[in-house]
Protein backbone atom coordinates (compact mmCIF):
# COMPACT_ATOMS: atom_id res chain seq x y z
CA UNK A 1 0.00 0.00 0.00
CA UNK A 2 2.96 2.35 0.56
CA UNK A 3 3.12 5.44 2.71
CA UNK A 4 -0.14 7.24 3.50
CA UNK A 5 -0.44 10.24 1.13
CA UNK A 6 0.44 13.52 2.77
CA UNK A 7 -2.82 15.32 1.85
CA UNK A 8 -4.47 12.85 4.20
CA UNK A 9 -1.69 12.43 6.71
CA UNK A 10 -1.13 16.11 7.53
CA UNK A 11 -4.78 17.01 8.26
CA UNK A 12 -5.09 13.74 10.17
CA UNK A 13 -2.18 14.59 12.44
CA UNK A 14 -3.45 18.15 12.95
CA UNK A 15 -6.90 16.76 13.74
CA UNK A 16 -5.47 14.34 16.25
CA UNK A 17 -3.40 17.06 17.93
CA UNK A 18 -6.47 19.28 18.09
CA UNK A 19 -8.38 16.60 19.95
CA UNK A 20 -5.59 15.41 22.20
CA UNK A 21 -3.78 18.62 23.18
CA UNK A 22 -6.53 19.95 25.49
CA UNK A 23 -6.27 16.66 27.35
CA UNK A 24 -2.51 17.21 27.62
CA UNK A 25 -3.30 20.67 29.01
CA UNK A 26 -5.37 19.09 31.76
CA UNK A 27 -2.61 16.62 32.55
CA UNK A 28 0.08 19.31 32.69
CA UNK A 29 -1.94 21.59 34.95
CA UNK A 30 -3.22 18.86 37.26
CA UNK A 31 -2.18 19.41 40.90
CA UNK A 32 -0.48 16.05 41.21
CA UNK A 33 0.85 16.60 44.75
CA UNK A 34 -2.56 17.23 46.28
CA UNK A 35 -4.37 14.80 44.02
CA UNK A 36 -4.87 11.93 46.49
CA UNK A 37 -6.36 14.17 49.16
CA UNK A 38 -8.69 15.83 46.66
CA UNK A 39 -9.85 12.46 45.40
CA UNK A 40 -10.55 11.19 48.89
CA UNK A 41 -13.52 13.54 49.24
CA UNK A 42 -16.71 11.51 49.59
CA UNK A 43 -18.47 13.78 47.13
CA UNK A 44 -16.09 12.87 44.31
CA UNK A 45 -16.83 9.16 44.56
CA UNK A 46 -20.51 9.87 45.02
CA UNK A 47 -20.61 12.03 41.90
CA UNK A 48 -18.61 9.49 39.93
CA UNK A 49 -20.86 6.64 40.98
CA UNK A 50 -23.94 8.67 40.13
CA UNK A 51 -22.49 9.60 36.75
CA UNK A 52 -21.71 6.01 35.82
CA UNK A 53 -25.04 4.69 37.04
CA UNK A 54 -27.15 7.37 35.35
CA UNK A 55 -25.21 7.26 32.07
CA UNK A 56 -25.60 3.48 31.97
CA UNK A 57 -29.30 3.56 32.79
CA UNK A 58 -29.82 6.36 30.27
CA UNK A 59 -28.06 4.26 27.62
CA UNK A 60 -30.32 1.33 28.47
CA UNK A 61 -33.36 3.57 28.11
CA UNK A 62 -32.03 4.86 24.79
CA UNK A 63 -31.49 1.30 23.55
CA UNK A 64 -34.95 0.26 24.62
CA UNK A 65 -36.64 3.17 22.86
CA UNK A 66 -34.07 4.21 20.29
CA UNK A 67 -33.46 0.92 18.51
CA UNK A 68 -37.17 0.41 17.73
CA UNK A 69 -37.37 4.04 16.65
CA UNK A 70 -34.40 3.61 14.35
CA UNK A 71 -36.01 0.46 12.95
CA UNK A 72 -39.26 2.31 12.30
CA UNK A 73 -37.41 5.06 10.46
CA UNK A 74 -35.31 2.66 8.42
CA UNK A 75 -37.88 -0.02 7.59
CA UNK A 76 -41.39 1.38 7.67
CA UNK A 77 -42.44 4.15 5.34
CA UNK A 78 -45.09 6.36 6.86
CA UNK A 79 -46.24 9.90 6.11
CA UNK A 80 -44.02 12.48 7.75
CA UNK A 81 -41.07 10.15 8.11
CA UNK A 82 -38.65 12.81 6.89
CA UNK A 83 -40.03 15.28 9.40
CA UNK A 84 -39.69 12.79 12.24
CA UNK A 85 -36.12 12.06 11.18
CA UNK A 86 -35.33 15.77 11.25
CA UNK A 87 -37.03 16.23 14.62
CA UNK A 88 -34.91 13.49 16.14
CA UNK A 89 -31.82 15.61 15.62
CA UNK A 90 -33.37 18.49 17.59
CA UNK A 91 -31.68 17.51 20.88
CA UNK A 92 -28.37 17.62 18.99
CA UNK A 93 -28.74 21.22 17.89
CA UNK A 94 -30.66 22.50 20.89
CA UNK A 95 -28.40 24.06 23.52
CA UNK A 96 -28.64 21.49 26.34
CA UNK A 97 -29.80 24.13 28.82
CA UNK A 98 -32.72 24.91 26.54
CA UNK A 99 -33.33 21.17 26.29
CA UNK A 100 -33.50 21.11 30.08
CA UNK A 101 -36.03 23.94 30.13
CA UNK A 102 -38.05 22.16 27.44
CA UNK A 103 -38.06 19.02 29.58
CA UNK A 104 -39.24 21.06 32.55
CA UNK A 105 -42.08 22.46 30.44
CA UNK A 106 -43.21 18.94 29.59
CA UNK A 107 -42.21 16.77 32.54
CA UNK A 108 -41.86 19.40 35.26
CA UNK A 109 -44.22 19.69 38.17
CA UNK A 110 -46.36 22.09 36.16
CA UNK A 111 -45.43 20.63 32.77
CA UNK A 112 -47.86 19.27 30.20
CA UNK A 113 -47.25 15.65 31.16
CA UNK A 114 -45.55 16.21 34.50
CA UNK A 115 -48.68 17.77 35.96
CA UNK A 116 -50.61 14.63 35.17
CA UNK A 117 -47.82 12.35 36.43
CA UNK A 118 -47.77 14.29 39.68
CA UNK A 119 -51.54 14.23 40.11
CA UNK A 120 -52.03 10.60 39.08
CA UNK A 121 -48.98 8.78 40.40
CA UNK A 122 -47.44 11.37 42.69
CA UNK A 123 -44.34 11.16 40.51
CA UNK A 124 -42.23 14.24 40.07
CA UNK A 125 -39.11 13.87 37.94
CA UNK A 126 -37.20 17.14 38.47
CA UNK A 127 -34.57 17.05 41.22
CA UNK A 128 -34.49 13.24 41.24
CA UNK A 129 -31.94 10.74 39.97
CA UNK A 130 -34.59 9.55 37.53
CA UNK A 131 -34.68 13.12 36.27
CA UNK A 132 -30.95 12.96 35.60
CA UNK A 133 -31.54 9.81 33.53
CA UNK A 134 -34.33 11.54 31.62
CA UNK A 135 -32.15 14.56 30.82
CA UNK A 136 -29.20 12.42 29.75
CA UNK A 137 -31.36 10.13 27.63
CA UNK A 138 -32.98 13.13 25.94
CA UNK A 139 -29.64 14.56 24.90
CA UNK A 140 -27.92 11.26 24.07
CA UNK A 141 -30.65 9.33 22.24
CA UNK A 142 -30.13 10.99 18.83
CA UNK A 143 -26.60 9.57 18.72
CA UNK A 144 -27.97 6.07 19.14
CA UNK A 145 -30.91 6.48 16.78
CA UNK A 146 -28.79 7.98 14.02
CA UNK A 147 -26.08 5.36 14.15
CA UNK A 148 -28.52 2.44 14.43
CA UNK A 149 -30.63 3.80 11.57
CA UNK A 150 -27.48 4.12 9.48
CA UNK A 151 -26.56 0.53 10.27
CA UNK A 152 -30.08 -0.64 9.40
CA UNK A 153 -30.02 1.19 6.09
CA UNK A 154 -26.64 -0.34 5.34
CA UNK A 155 -27.81 -3.86 6.18
CA UNK A 156 -29.01 -5.98 3.26
CA UNK A 157 -32.81 -6.19 3.61
CA UNK A 158 -32.81 -9.42 1.61
CA UNK A 159 -31.63 -11.28 4.71
CA UNK A 160 -34.92 -10.22 6.25
CA UNK A 161 -36.75 -11.50 3.18
CA UNK A 162 -34.91 -14.79 3.43
CA UNK A 163 -36.00 -15.06 7.06
CA UNK A 164 -39.61 -14.31 6.08
CA UNK A 165 -39.61 -17.14 3.52
CA UNK A 166 -38.49 -19.43 6.35
CA UNK A 167 -41.58 -18.54 8.32
CA UNK A 168 -40.21 -15.83 10.59
CA UNK A 169 -42.68 -13.20 11.79
CA UNK A 170 -41.57 -9.58 11.62
CA UNK A 171 -40.68 -9.64 15.29
CA UNK A 172 -38.64 -12.85 14.88
CA UNK A 173 -36.94 -11.35 11.84
CA UNK A 174 -36.07 -8.29 13.88
CA UNK A 175 -34.57 -9.94 16.91
CA UNK A 176 -33.04 -13.02 15.30
CA UNK A 177 -31.76 -11.58 12.02
CA UNK A 178 -31.84 -7.79 11.82
CA UNK A 179 -30.52 -7.05 15.28
CA UNK A 180 -27.55 -9.45 15.10
CA UNK A 181 -26.70 -8.08 11.65
CA UNK A 182 -26.61 -4.48 12.86
CA UNK A 183 -25.07 -5.31 16.24
CA UNK A 184 -21.83 -3.42 15.49
CA UNK A 185 -23.85 -0.32 14.68
CA UNK A 186 -25.91 -0.71 17.85
CA UNK A 187 -22.76 -1.09 19.95
CA UNK A 188 -21.17 1.94 18.31
CA UNK A 189 -24.34 3.93 18.87
CA UNK A 190 -24.58 2.82 22.48
CA UNK A 191 -20.97 3.81 23.13
CA UNK A 192 -21.54 7.27 21.66
CA UNK A 193 -24.76 7.54 23.60
CA UNK A 194 -23.12 6.52 26.86
CA UNK A 195 -20.22 8.91 26.38
CA UNK A 196 -22.60 11.76 25.63
CA UNK A 197 -24.72 10.92 28.67
CA UNK A 198 -21.64 10.76 30.87
CA UNK A 199 -20.53 14.25 29.88
CA UNK A 200 -24.04 15.73 29.99
CA UNK A 201 -24.23 18.99 31.89
CA UNK A 202 -26.68 21.61 30.67
CA UNK A 203 -29.90 19.64 30.42
CA UNK A 204 -29.11 17.76 33.61
CA UNK A 205 -28.50 20.78 35.82
CA UNK A 206 -31.51 22.55 34.35
CA UNK A 207 -33.96 19.68 34.55
CA UNK A 208 -32.69 17.68 37.50
CA UNK A 209 -30.94 20.42 39.44
CA UNK A 210 -27.81 19.87 41.44
CA UNK A 211 -27.79 18.01 44.72
CA UNK A 212 -24.86 15.90 45.89
CA UNK A 213 -25.60 12.18 45.93
CA UNK A 214 -28.91 12.59 44.15
CA UNK A 215 -28.47 14.63 41.01
CA UNK A 216 -24.93 15.95 41.15
CA UNK A 217 -23.06 14.08 38.43
CA UNK A 218 -19.37 14.59 37.69
CA UNK A 219 -19.83 17.34 35.09
CA UNK A 220 -21.95 19.30 37.58
CA UNK A 221 -19.36 18.80 40.29
CA UNK A 222 -16.68 19.94 37.84
CA UNK A 223 -18.63 23.05 36.94
CA UNK A 224 -19.20 24.08 40.55
CA UNK A 225 -15.63 23.29 41.50
CA UNK A 226 -14.57 25.60 38.71
CA UNK A 227 -16.35 28.45 40.54
CA UNK A 228 -14.07 28.31 43.54
CA UNK A 229 -11.25 25.87 42.95
CA UNK A 230 -10.16 25.32 39.34
CA UNK A 231 -7.54 22.77 40.37
CA UNK A 232 -10.20 20.55 41.87
CA UNK A 233 -12.14 20.90 38.66
CA UNK A 234 -9.15 19.59 36.73
CA UNK A 235 -8.83 16.65 39.10
CA UNK A 236 -12.51 15.79 38.74
CA UNK A 237 -12.31 16.08 34.96
CA UNK A 238 -9.34 13.76 34.89
CA UNK A 239 -11.13 11.20 37.01
CA UNK A 240 -14.12 11.28 34.68
CA UNK A 241 -11.84 11.01 31.69
CA UNK A 242 -9.73 8.13 32.99
CA UNK A 243 -12.76 6.12 34.09
CA UNK A 244 -14.66 6.62 30.82
CA UNK A 245 -11.65 5.88 28.61
CA UNK A 246 -10.90 2.76 30.65
CA UNK A 247 -14.47 1.52 30.36
CA UNK A 248 -14.69 2.23 26.63
CA UNK A 249 -11.35 0.56 25.95
CA UNK A 250 -12.42 -2.50 27.92
CA UNK A 251 -15.75 -2.65 26.07
CA UNK A 252 -14.04 -2.27 22.73
CA UNK A 253 -11.86 -5.29 23.40
CA UNK A 254 -14.86 -7.25 24.55
CA UNK A 255 -17.44 -6.33 21.91
CA UNK A 256 -15.83 -4.79 18.92
CA UNK A 257 -13.38 -7.16 17.31
CA UNK A 258 -10.89 -5.06 15.44
CA UNK A 259 -10.20 -6.25 11.90
Amino acid sequence: MGRPPWPLLIPAVIGMAFLVLPLAGLLVRAPWSTLPSRLAGAQVLEALRLSLVTATVATAVCLLLGVPLAWLLARVSFPGRRVVRALITVPLVLPPVVGGVALLLVLGRRGLVGQWLDATFGVSLPFTTAGVVVAEAFVAMPFLVISVEGALRGADPRFEEAAATLGASRWTVFHRVTLPLVAPGVVAGAVLCWARALGEFGATITFAGNFPGRTQTMPLAVYLALETDPESAIVLSLVLLVVSVAILAALRDRWVTSP
Partner: protein, 270 residues
Protein backbone atom coordinates in the same frame (compact mmCIF):
# COMPACT_ATOMS: atom_id res chain seq x y z
CA UNK B 1 -22.06 8.84 -11.51
CA UNK B 2 -22.14 7.75 -7.89
CA UNK B 3 -18.54 6.87 -8.10
CA UNK B 4 -17.65 10.28 -9.32
CA UNK B 5 -19.82 11.94 -6.73
CA UNK B 6 -18.34 9.97 -3.90
CA UNK B 7 -14.86 10.70 -5.10
CA UNK B 8 -15.67 14.37 -5.01
CA UNK B 9 -17.16 14.01 -1.59
CA UNK B 10 -13.85 12.62 -0.37
CA UNK B 11 -11.75 15.04 -2.34
CA UNK B 12 -13.53 18.25 -1.37
CA UNK B 13 -12.49 18.37 2.30
CA UNK B 14 -8.97 17.42 1.37
CA UNK B 15 -8.82 20.18 -1.18
CA UNK B 16 -10.18 22.62 1.36
CA UNK B 17 -7.72 21.45 3.96
CA UNK B 18 -4.94 21.79 1.43
CA UNK B 19 -6.01 25.25 0.43
CA UNK B 20 -6.19 26.48 3.99
CA UNK B 21 -3.09 24.55 4.90
CA UNK B 22 -1.12 26.11 2.06
CA UNK B 23 -2.26 29.62 2.82
CA UNK B 24 -1.41 28.93 6.44
CA UNK B 25 2.13 27.79 5.61
CA UNK B 26 3.05 30.32 3.01
CA UNK B 27 1.54 33.44 4.45
CA UNK B 28 3.32 34.27 7.64
CA UNK B 29 3.79 37.81 6.39
CA UNK B 30 0.27 38.48 5.04
CA UNK B 31 -1.27 37.05 8.18
CA UNK B 32 0.69 39.46 10.30
CA UNK B 33 -0.35 42.33 8.05
CA UNK B 34 -3.96 41.28 8.20
CA UNK B 35 -4.04 41.29 11.96
CA UNK B 36 -2.05 44.50 12.36
CA UNK B 37 -5.01 46.91 12.23
CA UNK B 38 -6.64 45.24 15.21
CA UNK B 39 -3.43 44.94 17.15
CA UNK B 40 -2.76 48.60 16.43
CA UNK B 41 -6.10 49.57 17.91
CA UNK B 42 -5.40 47.66 21.11
CA UNK B 43 -1.68 48.21 21.61
CA UNK B 44 -1.07 51.62 20.07
CA UNK B 45 0.16 54.22 22.50
CA UNK B 46 -2.94 56.24 21.65
CA UNK B 47 -5.85 55.29 23.93
CA UNK B 48 -8.14 52.55 22.58
CA UNK B 49 -11.72 53.54 21.93
CA UNK B 50 -13.28 50.19 22.87
CA UNK B 51 -13.85 49.46 26.52
CA UNK B 52 -14.22 45.83 27.61
CA UNK B 53 -16.25 45.50 30.78
CA UNK B 54 -16.49 42.12 32.52
CA UNK B 55 -19.45 42.20 34.85
CA UNK B 56 -21.46 39.81 37.00
CA UNK B 57 -24.57 38.44 35.32
CA UNK B 58 -26.82 40.18 37.88
CA UNK B 59 -25.60 43.53 36.50
CA UNK B 60 -26.76 42.80 32.94
CA UNK B 61 -29.69 45.24 32.86
CA UNK B 62 -28.16 48.11 34.81
CA UNK B 63 -24.73 48.03 33.19
CA UNK B 64 -26.16 47.86 29.69
CA UNK B 65 -28.07 51.03 30.48
CA UNK B 66 -24.98 52.69 31.97
CA UNK B 67 -22.92 51.59 28.97
CA UNK B 68 -25.28 53.46 26.64
CA UNK B 69 -25.03 56.55 28.82
CA UNK B 70 -21.24 56.23 28.78
CA UNK B 71 -21.11 56.00 24.99
CA UNK B 72 -23.36 59.04 24.73
CA UNK B 73 -21.04 61.00 27.02
CA UNK B 74 -17.87 59.81 25.25
CA UNK B 75 -18.38 60.16 21.51
CA UNK B 76 -16.26 57.67 19.61
CA UNK B 77 -15.95 55.27 22.54
CA UNK B 78 -17.81 52.00 22.56
CA UNK B 79 -18.43 49.71 25.51
CA UNK B 80 -18.46 45.94 25.12
CA UNK B 81 -19.79 43.80 27.96
CA UNK B 82 -19.01 40.28 28.95
CA UNK B 83 -21.63 39.24 31.49
CA UNK B 84 -21.33 35.94 33.32
CA UNK B 85 -20.69 34.15 36.53
CA UNK B 86 -18.23 36.25 38.55
CA UNK B 87 -15.98 33.26 39.19
CA UNK B 88 -15.83 32.40 35.49
CA UNK B 89 -15.07 36.01 34.60
CA UNK B 90 -12.32 36.17 37.24
CA UNK B 91 -10.73 33.10 35.71
CA UNK B 92 -10.98 34.48 32.20
CA UNK B 93 -9.23 37.66 33.39
CA UNK B 94 -6.42 35.76 35.14
CA UNK B 95 -6.00 33.65 31.97
CA UNK B 96 -5.37 36.84 29.98
CA UNK B 97 -8.75 37.78 28.56
CA UNK B 98 -8.74 41.40 27.29
CA UNK B 99 -10.66 43.24 30.02
CA UNK B 100 -10.55 46.85 31.14
CA UNK B 101 -13.03 46.84 34.01
CA UNK B 102 -14.18 44.05 36.31
CA UNK B 103 -17.37 44.31 38.33
CA UNK B 104 -17.83 41.25 40.53
CA UNK B 105 -20.76 39.97 42.57
CA UNK B 106 -18.57 39.05 45.53
CA UNK B 107 -15.34 40.21 47.17
CA UNK B 108 -14.03 36.62 46.92
CA UNK B 109 -14.13 36.56 43.12
CA UNK B 110 -12.56 40.03 42.97
CA UNK B 111 -9.84 38.70 45.26
CA UNK B 112 -8.83 36.16 42.58
CA UNK B 113 -8.05 39.08 40.32
CA UNK B 114 -6.32 41.30 42.91
CA UNK B 115 -4.26 38.30 44.08
CA UNK B 116 -2.99 37.98 40.54
CA UNK B 117 -2.00 41.69 40.74
CA UNK B 118 -4.33 42.47 37.85
CA UNK B 119 -6.38 45.05 39.75
CA UNK B 120 -5.68 47.39 42.61
CA UNK B 121 -8.03 49.00 45.09
CA UNK B 122 -11.46 47.64 44.21
CA UNK B 123 -14.39 49.71 45.48
CA UNK B 124 -17.72 48.36 46.66
CA UNK B 125 -20.31 50.10 44.51
CA UNK B 126 -23.54 48.31 45.42
CA UNK B 127 -24.90 45.76 47.85
CA UNK B 128 -27.45 43.15 47.03
CA UNK B 129 -29.78 41.58 49.57
CA UNK B 130 -31.50 38.24 49.41
CA UNK B 131 -35.23 37.82 49.23
CA UNK B 132 -37.44 34.76 49.25
CA UNK B 133 -38.76 34.29 45.74
CA UNK B 134 -42.05 32.42 45.35
CA UNK B 135 -44.31 31.81 42.36
CA UNK B 136 -47.02 34.49 42.06
CA UNK B 137 -49.67 32.10 43.42
CA UNK B 138 -47.34 31.10 46.29
CA UNK B 139 -48.63 27.49 46.41
CA UNK B 140 -46.79 26.62 49.63
CA UNK B 141 -48.01 29.78 51.41
CA UNK B 142 -44.50 30.87 52.31
CA UNK B 143 -44.19 34.18 54.13
CA UNK B 144 -41.14 33.86 56.36
CA UNK B 145 -37.71 32.28 56.21
CA UNK B 146 -38.71 29.66 58.79
CA UNK B 147 -41.37 28.33 56.39
CA UNK B 148 -38.56 27.03 54.19
CA UNK B 149 -37.67 24.45 56.85
CA UNK B 150 -40.95 22.64 56.22
CA UNK B 151 -40.01 19.41 54.40
CA UNK B 152 -43.15 19.73 52.27
CA UNK B 153 -41.86 22.98 50.81
CA UNK B 154 -39.58 22.46 47.83
CA UNK B 155 -36.71 24.91 48.06
CA UNK B 156 -34.00 25.80 45.56
CA UNK B 157 -30.81 27.49 46.73
CA UNK B 158 -27.72 28.58 44.87
CA UNK B 159 -24.74 26.27 45.32
CA UNK B 160 -22.46 27.36 48.12
CA UNK B 161 -19.66 27.87 45.61
CA UNK B 162 -21.40 30.85 43.99
CA UNK B 163 -22.05 34.18 45.75
CA UNK B 164 -25.81 33.88 46.12
CA UNK B 165 -25.36 30.42 47.65
CA UNK B 166 -22.76 31.66 50.12
CA UNK B 167 -25.12 34.47 51.10
CA UNK B 168 -28.01 32.03 51.51
CA UNK B 169 -25.98 29.86 53.86
CA UNK B 170 -25.06 32.92 55.90
CA UNK B 171 -28.64 34.14 56.12
CA UNK B 172 -30.05 30.74 57.08
CA UNK B 173 -27.33 30.30 59.70
CA UNK B 174 -28.12 33.71 61.11
CA UNK B 175 -31.78 32.81 61.31
CA UNK B 176 -31.06 29.37 62.74
CA UNK B 177 -33.20 27.76 60.06
CA UNK B 178 -32.24 24.39 58.58
CA UNK B 179 -33.40 23.93 55.02
CA UNK B 180 -33.25 20.76 52.95
CA UNK B 181 -33.14 22.13 49.41
CA UNK B 182 -34.04 19.91 46.47
CA UNK B 183 -31.33 21.50 44.37
CA UNK B 184 -28.25 23.70 44.62
CA UNK B 185 -28.28 25.67 41.41
CA UNK B 186 -25.23 26.83 39.52
CA UNK B 187 -26.25 30.47 39.49
CA UNK B 188 -28.95 32.83 40.64
CA UNK B 189 -30.69 32.96 37.24
CA UNK B 190 -31.06 29.17 37.17
CA UNK B 191 -32.45 29.30 40.70
CA UNK B 192 -34.94 31.94 39.66
CA UNK B 193 -35.97 29.91 36.59
CA UNK B 194 -36.96 27.01 38.85
CA UNK B 195 -39.31 29.33 40.75
CA UNK B 196 -40.69 30.87 37.57
CA UNK B 197 -41.52 27.43 36.17
CA UNK B 198 -43.13 26.43 39.45
CA UNK B 199 -40.74 23.52 39.93
CA UNK B 200 -39.95 24.72 43.44
CA UNK B 201 -42.12 26.51 45.96
CA UNK B 202 -39.46 28.96 47.09
CA UNK B 203 -35.89 30.02 46.55
CA UNK B 204 -33.44 32.49 48.00
CA UNK B 205 -32.37 34.95 45.32
CA UNK B 206 -31.29 38.57 45.14
CA UNK B 207 -33.83 41.31 45.47
CA UNK B 208 -32.59 42.67 42.10
CA UNK B 209 -33.44 39.38 40.41
CA UNK B 210 -36.96 39.49 41.84
CA UNK B 211 -37.40 43.01 40.47
CA UNK B 212 -35.90 42.06 37.10
CA UNK B 213 -38.35 39.16 36.73
CA UNK B 214 -41.13 41.74 36.31
CA UNK B 215 -43.76 39.98 38.35
CA UNK B 216 -43.03 36.43 37.27
CA UNK B 217 -41.96 35.74 40.84
CA UNK B 218 -42.96 37.44 44.03
CA UNK B 219 -40.29 38.59 46.47
CA UNK B 220 -40.64 38.30 50.22
CA UNK B 221 -38.14 40.31 52.25
CA UNK B 222 -36.91 38.82 55.53
CA UNK B 223 -34.96 40.49 58.34
CA UNK B 224 -32.04 38.00 58.36
CA UNK B 225 -31.17 39.16 54.83
CA UNK B 226 -29.31 42.04 56.46
CA UNK B 227 -26.84 39.51 57.91
CA UNK B 228 -25.93 38.28 54.46
CA UNK B 229 -25.47 41.35 52.36
CA UNK B 230 -23.44 40.79 49.21
CA UNK B 231 -20.88 43.46 48.34
CA UNK B 232 -20.22 44.13 44.65
CA UNK B 233 -16.69 45.43 44.07
CA UNK B 234 -15.58 47.17 40.88
CA UNK B 235 -12.05 47.97 39.70
CA UNK B 236 -10.25 49.09 36.56
CA UNK B 237 -7.75 46.44 35.53
CA UNK B 238 -4.06 47.22 35.68
CA UNK B 239 -3.24 46.06 32.17
CA UNK B 240 -6.26 47.69 30.59
CA UNK B 241 -5.78 48.78 27.02
CA UNK B 242 -7.93 51.82 27.70
CA UNK B 243 -6.97 52.80 31.25
CA UNK B 244 -8.42 56.29 30.96
CA UNK B 245 -11.80 55.12 29.74
CA UNK B 246 -11.76 52.33 32.31
CA UNK B 247 -11.41 54.78 35.16
CA UNK B 248 -14.09 57.03 33.65
CA UNK B 249 -16.49 54.08 33.45
CA UNK B 250 -15.84 53.16 37.09
CA UNK B 251 -16.44 56.82 37.97
CA UNK B 252 -19.76 56.74 36.13
CA UNK B 253 -20.85 53.64 38.05
CA UNK B 254 -19.98 55.36 41.35
CA UNK B 255 -21.62 58.66 40.33
CA UNK B 256 -25.11 59.78 41.32
CA UNK B 257 -26.32 58.78 37.85
CA UNK B 258 -24.92 55.29 38.36
CA UNK B 259 -26.42 55.02 41.83
CA UNK B 260 -29.81 56.04 40.46
CA UNK B 261 -29.79 53.36 37.77
CA UNK B 262 -28.59 50.67 40.16
CA UNK B 263 -30.96 51.73 42.95
CA UNK B 264 -33.92 51.55 40.60
CA UNK B 265 -33.02 47.91 39.89
CA UNK B 266 -33.13 47.04 43.57
CA UNK B 267 -29.47 47.36 44.52
CA UNK B 268 -28.58 49.12 47.72
CA UNK B 269 -25.96 51.78 47.21
CA UNK B 270 -23.48 52.35 50.02
Amino acid sequence: MFRRLSRWAVAAPVVLALATGLSGCGSGEPAATASSPTSASTTAPAEATTLNVFAAASLTGTFTELGKAFEAAHPGASVRFNFGSSATLAQQITQGAPADVFAAASPATMKTVTDASLAASPVTFVRNKLEIAVPPDNPAKVDALSDLADPKVKVALCAAQVPCGAAAVKALDAAGVTVKPVTLEQDVKATLTKVQLGEVDAALVYKTDVLASQGKVTGIAFPEADKAVNDYPIAPLSNASAPGLAQQFVDLVLSQQGRDVLGKAGFETP
